[in-house]
């Protein structure tokens, strides 16, 4: 009778388990950023972004149900993320490349407060 008998219905334990993991990861990342005695220096930003990515993957796989969906929908999301990565990579490469020149220019031509 039903045409959607093959649609995946997420069980409640999966939904609540995903939510619990997300809350746990949020607590970990806030705790890591606000306490003093576990510093990771230059690795802090990659670490928090990795935690965010795990959270994002949990949402995409279980809340958005990509884990049980047609592959095409996941491919669309992943391709948009690839283009995002391409965009960021080239912009940052460019910034890095010209950074020293911009810095030197600004140091030798500081914006005096009374200059236009």
């Amino acid at each position: 009778m039903s045409e959607n008998h093959h649609h995946y219905v997420a069980p409640l334990p999966v939904l609540f388990g995903t939510f619990a993991c997300l809350v746990g990861l949020t607590i970990i990342t806030v705790f890591q950023a606000t306490q003093e005695y576990a510093e990771f220096g230059r690795w802090e930003t990659p670490l928090t972004l990795s935690i965010a990515t795990v959270k994002a993957a949990l949402v995409a796989l279980f809340f958005m149900q990509l884990a049980h969906d047609k592959p095409m929908n996941g491919i669309i999301l992943i391709s948009s993320l690839l283009f995002l990565a391409l965009f960021l990579t080239f912009a940052l490469l460019d910034t890095h490349q010209y950074g020293p020149q911009v810095h030197d220019f600004l140091i030798s031509n500081p914006k005096a407060p009374d200059s236009p």
């Binding site: 039903s2 045409e3 950023a33 995409a60 809340f63 283009f83 600004l106 140091i107 500081p110």
Partner: protein, 353 residues
């Protein structure tokens, strides 16, 4: 599903469009379309993430200092609220798939209350930053040691929260009166009222928390040294040379505004060293990005609230059932994406140390 089913016009679901062979085809086409839209949303936000990455790569110290003005507790609370709303949307889809009408409605209403709370907390954050002068670069007027008196802002937020509560209650009463004959109208008003009540709650709780925290902090004197180098100079009135894209539409820049006294060359050198010669308003660049990103995200929340009002109204009219629940799922996908973006915004803006 089969050709014979299609041959019989009366087999069609009442919401199946004529150009689809089957309800399943309609459902999958709608979902594909939604995912394509979500891809454009990712690319849309990528511009702002790129601005963030470039400015942070160029001036990491400015971001580290400026982020101290954001309240990680409020950000974390909003993260949890959004995660809870994502859970309830996923649960609402499950209820629609199983044909559980009351579960569908209550999960959708809970989602909208969460959306309201999020916006209420955001209102508290924006209002306090406005008062403190922690604004985008063109309007960045934070001065160290000034300690702006936030009492009036807290009082304003208190009355704003109470007003929202009144509006929310009025919307629910209006739903009972105007929607007496139409279940769809009634629940649309209920949904909107619940959202506004959630916003009232978020605003009042956030206000009480920040007032308490500020009172607690006054003895400790945090934040007092930040930006000292830039603002000890007394150069608040600095003409802006550039208008950043984020502030372009809202900002009238006064060109050539001058101060009488020219600073000593050493002072300029110090300033140049501190912010790469960008001037004392430069920390405002962080807040330009902050307002652009969180503001556009908040607009997405508002849009989601608008769509959910429609979804609740249709759900109340009994439109959704195991054979037809596409709109619930598509709206849910959109809501999850808004949650996803916040999952990245929160650590990138609030948790820089």
């Amino acid at each position: 599903m089969s050709a014979t089913a299609h041959a019989d016009e009366h087999q069609h679901h009442r919401f199946q469009a004529h150009h689809f062979e089957t309800a399943e085809q309609q459902f999958q086409a709608g979902k594909l379309g939604m995912w394509l839209f979500l891809a454009t949303e990712v690319l849309f936000f990528s511009g702002m993430f790129c601005a963030y990455a470039v400015f942070r790569a160029a001036h990491p110290e400015v971001f580290e200092k400026a982020a101290e003005f954001l309240n990680p507790t409020l950000g974390a609370a909003n993260t949890l609220v959004l995660l809870a709303s994502s859970l309830s949307v996923a649960w609402a889809v499950r209820c629609a798939q199983l044909g559980k009408q009351s579960g569908l409605l209550s999960n959708l209403i809970f989602t909208m209350v969460c959306a309201g709370i999020f916006m209420g907390v955001k209102a508290v954050e924006y209002s306090l930053k406005w008062k403190e002068g922690l604004l985008w670069r063109g309007k960045f007027t934070w001065t160290d040691g000034a300690h702006p008196d936030l009492t009036s802002t807290h009082e304003m937020l208190y009355s704003f929260g109470l007003t929202l509560a009144g509006i929310g209650a009025a919307l629910i009463v209006a739903g009972l009166i105007l929607g007496a004959k139409s279940v769809g109208t009634r629940w649309a008003f209920f949904a909107l009222g619940a959202t506004v009540l959630g916003a009232a709650g978020g605003c009042l709780i956030g206000n009480v928390y920040t007032a308490w925290e500020q009172h607690d902090e006054q003895t400790h004197g945090e934040h007092s040294e930040v930006f000292e180098d830039a603002h000890a100079l007394g150069l608040e009135e600095v003409a802006e040379e550039e208008v950043h894209a984020e502030e372009a539409e809202s900002e009238d820049v006064v060109e050539g505004q001058t101060d009488a006294e020219a600073p000593a060359a050493t002072v300029v050198q110090e300033m140049a060293a501190e912010y790469g010669g960008e001037g004392p308003k430069f920390p405002g660049v962080f807040f330009s990005i902050y307002y652009a990103m969180t503001g556009v995200h908040a607009i997405h929340i508002l849009a989601g609230i608008g769509v959910f009002v429609w979804i609740v109204s249709r759900a109340a009219r009994g439109h959704f059932e195991p054979n037809y629940y596409g709109p619930v799922e598509y709206t849910g996908l959109y809501w999850h994406l808004v949650d996803l973006i916040w999952i990245y915004l929160f650590p990138l803006l609030y948790l820089i140390r």
